[in-house]
Structure formats: C-alpha cells, structure tokens
Amino acid sequence: MRINPRHTDKLMSAGLSLQALFTVGILILIIAIIFIKGFPYVTAEFIFSYPEDMGRLGGVFPSIIGTIFLGLLSIAFATPLGIGTAIYLTEYTKESTLTRVIRFGVESLAGIPSIIYGLFGFIFFVIKLGLGWSLLSGTLTVAIMVLPTIIRTSEEAIKSVPKNLRTVSFSLGATKWETVTRVIIPSAAPGILTGIMLSIGRAVSETAAVIFTMGSSLRLPTSIMDSGRTMAVHFYILAREGISMEKAYATALVLVLSILVINILAYYLMHRMIARYS
C-alpha cells in the first residue's frame, strides 16, 4: 500500500526539525552540566588565587594569566601576517599560479591536526631553537595554527567591501596603499575582527599543541621564556588525574564561558559587517 506522500512530507519535516532540536539540545545539555556542577566553585578566590597542592586547593589565577598571554601574543604574531597575506591576495595580484599555490599552502596549514603542531612545536621551538617549554614556544606554534583562519576571514571581509569605495578613493588621488589602509581595512574591520576573535577562541581551547610547547608548570608566567599552563591544559590535567572534580568543573566553566563570550562577540561583529553592506 502506498503511503500518501503528503504524510511522508509532514513526517520528515517533523523528523528533521526534531533532529536539529536534539543537536541543539546536546549543546545546551553540555553547557548546563558544566554550569550546574561548576558554578558553586567559581568564586573570586578561585579566579584570583594560586593553585595549591597540585590544584586540589586554591585557584587558577596563573592559568588565566597564561591563557590571556598566549591568546593575545599569538594573535599579535598572526594578525599582521594574516591581514598582510589577505591584502596581497585580494588587492595586489590577480589569480595566478602563485596565488593558487599560496592558497593551497594556507588550506594545507588549516588541515594539519593539532597534535602535529604539537610535535612540530616541540621539536622545532622547544628543542632545536632551544626555547624550552615556554610561553614563546607556545605562542609561535599557536600563531601558525590560527594563521589560516585569520587569512580566510580577512579575505572574505576585504572581498565584501564594495568595489566603488576603491574607485572613489582612487579618483580622489589616493595611492593603493592609502586606499587599503584608510578605506578598505577600516570597512572590513568587523569581519577581520571576527576572524581574530575566532582565532583567540581557538588558541584558548587548544590543548595538544600547547601542552608540548608551553609545558605545564603551575607557576605564574612573568616572562615569555617562562613555562605555564593555560586553562585548557590545567583542566585536562585536573580531569585526567582526578585531582579534584569540583575544581575541574569550575575550570571548565570559566573556560567554556570565555569561549562563549568570545564567540558571541565574534558573531555580533559579523552581523555589524553584514548590516553595513546589505
């Protein structure tokens, strides 16, 4: 007996929306669990004091600082390179073998898994260059990791700046570089910032690449040659060793909250960008 296609239609439509809801449900469940289990332990003391007894007691202040330093410094390295590459690819050349090779290079970098970055960072920065487990090694490794993201989002942002802005700028007598720096980049700023924010999010949540380059010292890093922990690394160690479930959940909460805030900011900026040009 043939089923009425109208019934299948309604069924599938309901089925699909249920699955989408289920997926969002997973996300909400994850955040809810971490929130409920971690919130009671995220106190001012937790955020501002130092870990004691391997993290069983005390707080996570050094890892917060370590995370902030790693995030900001890796962006500091990657952003000029990334935006410069994006500008070059969009404004200063036409499509050619060179640009295709460069894009291939960027795509390939994006596809390399984080453990390989960890391997590379370990053998190159930590050992061969003698930088040891340090903020510097971690920063350089993470900078290369997030470079493709910055290039991609900057390119998108620059491409969506309307062409007439450029023509107007040239007709007013500006040079190419002046046009780029005073007209195009400012217009593309929200999109570029989105990419930067997403990269910070990535740097903050990275573990495999960071643990083998920055190390896992509990100290507060006061110089770039110091080792330290990021929140993600500290959480991993707490969780894996069963040192303290409460502290683990609390660390996870701070970690997930920061990433949530960063992502929301990124989206807000992206919508500003879209609103500007639609």
């Binding site: 903020l135 896992s216 010292s217 509990l218 100290r219 110089s223 894996r240 060793e241």
Partner: protein, 272 residues
C-alpha cells in the same frame, strides 16, 4: 584610536620586559633565583610539595618543577638544560655520568577498587594478569567478570620499575589499557570496580586499595625491612657539582624537615 593601539601594544610587550630584565641580572653574576627541576612525573608532585614549603623558608628562591618523564629529565640534565633532573628509576649505561642523590624510596603498589573484596595477590598472579594469562576475576576468587588491567605507557619510569621488579621477562599484554600518569591510573581504578593497576605508593589514598603482594602489605615498615620488594629510588640528578641555589634546595630536601614532608606523603625517607 592611536592611544588605544599603543596601549594594546604596550600590554602585549609587557611579558618581554621581565625576560630582558632576567637576562641582565643573570649576566651580571648576581645570585640566580630560580632552580629548574624536571623529569619523572612520579617524583614531580613531591618535588612540588617540597618547593612549596621551601618557598616559605627561602622566599627569594623559586623552584620551577616540570614533568617530562624520567628519561627526558635525565637527558635534560646531561644537556644542562635543567639544573636538577628527577628520575624514578635507576640510571643505565651512559646516564651514569650524572651525580645521583637518593632523596627517598617509593614502593610500587598494586591497587584495585575499594569494593573489590580481594586483599592479597601473589607476584606470579600479578605477572599472569598483566601478561594476559589470567583475564577473569573468577581465577582470582571473585566474580565472573573480565579484569580491566591498566598499565603506564612505554618510557615511564614507573612502568620500567614494574617491569623489572614484577614482570621480569614477561611482556605486558597488548590488550592492557594504558594511562600516562600515576594520577590517571588511580582515577581509572577508582572509578572502575573491575580494574587493577599499579602506581607509586606515595600516590595511594582512600580512593583505591593497595593489595598485599605474597602476603606482604606495602607499608613503610615492610619496605624498610626489605620484606616488600617492589621498591625503587627517587633520584635527584645533577651534572657535576650543583650551583649554589640548587645545593640549597637539595640540602633542604635531605634535611629533617624535607624528609619529614616526604614521609608524610607516604614515601620512605633516606636518612633514618
């Protein structure tokens, strides 16, 4: 806009300042205020504890403790990358050019879940379980359930000691689960009622139960009298004579206070 940009730049460059300052101070020949201790992850938590207490006595000196494993610590010490290396196994071959200081002894305990009714196991049984010959708790006197055996990873000092002292010539079976630290082995055994693992005696707490091996329970007394055989030394290693700050820390570790801290943690002090 310009001010904000420069402010951000300043913030980013901030970590570089202490780095330069650090270098200048060292070059001028002043007393170094940091000692790096790196190596075995078994020794690491205890070095951390000692460092914490040492800081109270000597606030100006910072002891920086890193992991990396016994082998890595030994290498780093030979290369002079770190001042003090930590090892949880005996030195082999070329490694013996390092100066060894035994800071304490540590037993290797075979542990099971607290709900596991078994209290004693023979060395042959341990070997059979880890060798893959005994796979069911039935054979050891418990219920019909697979044994979830956990071992440390290759290259671990603790595993090396376990292989030498317990396994002898038998290889650890391929189907055994692997965790990469004492803490994570303990965590698995603490949460899985059917698990068995081995770890540093100093790490054992109420979450797991240490079995007696061949009728001998892993107590400090039994280790001192030599009855409990699965023991290994915790070593601090230096390349030649240690520097002044390193010497101060090592002296503290060997002092009555330092040894007292280690004893409290469940390790066997050397100087008694």
């Amino acid at each position: 806009m310009k001010v904000r940009f420069h402010g951000l730049l300043l913030l980013l460059l901030m970590p570089l300042v202490p780095c330069c300052h650090h270098g200048v101070q060292g070059a001028s020949g002043g007393r170094k205020t940091t000692v790096t201790v790196a190596g075995s992850t078994s020794v690491m938590p205890f070095s951390e504890k000692l460092a914490e207490h040492f800081k109270i006595e000597r606030p100006r000196i910072t002891v920086d403790v890193q992991g990396g494993g016994s082998s890595a610590g030994i290498q780093a010490c030979i290369n002079r990358t770190v001042e003090i290396g930590m090892s949880s196994r005996e030195l082999k071959g070329d490694e013996k050019i390092l100066r060894q200081i035994v800071i304490c002894h540590d037993g290797i305990a075979v542990v099971v879940h607290p709900r596991n009714p078994i209290r004693d196991i023979t060395l042959e049984q341990v070997r059979a379980v880890y060798g893959g010959k005994i796979r069911n708790w039935k054979a050891l006197g418990w219920i019909d359930r697979n044994i979830d055996a956990v071992t440390r990873e290759e290259g671990s000092g603790t595993r090396g000691a376990f292989e030498e002292l317990a396994m002898r010539k038998t290889d650890i079976d391929d189907s055994t689960m692997v965790q990469d630290s004492n803490g994570s082995v303990k965590e698995v055994v603490a949460t899985d009622p059917y698990a068995i693992g081995y770890l540093s005696l100093g790490v054992v707490d109420a979450k797991v139960r240490a079995l007696s091996v061949g009728g001998v329970s892993p107590t400090v007394k039994n280790i001192k009298t030599g009855k409990y055989r699965m023991v290994r030394p915790f070593l601090y290693l230096t390349m030649g004579e240690p520097g002044e700050t390193a010497r101060l820390f090592i002296a503290y570790v060997l002092s009555k206070e330092g040894q007292g801290i280690l004893k409290k943690e469940g390790l066997i002090p050397v100087n008694e």
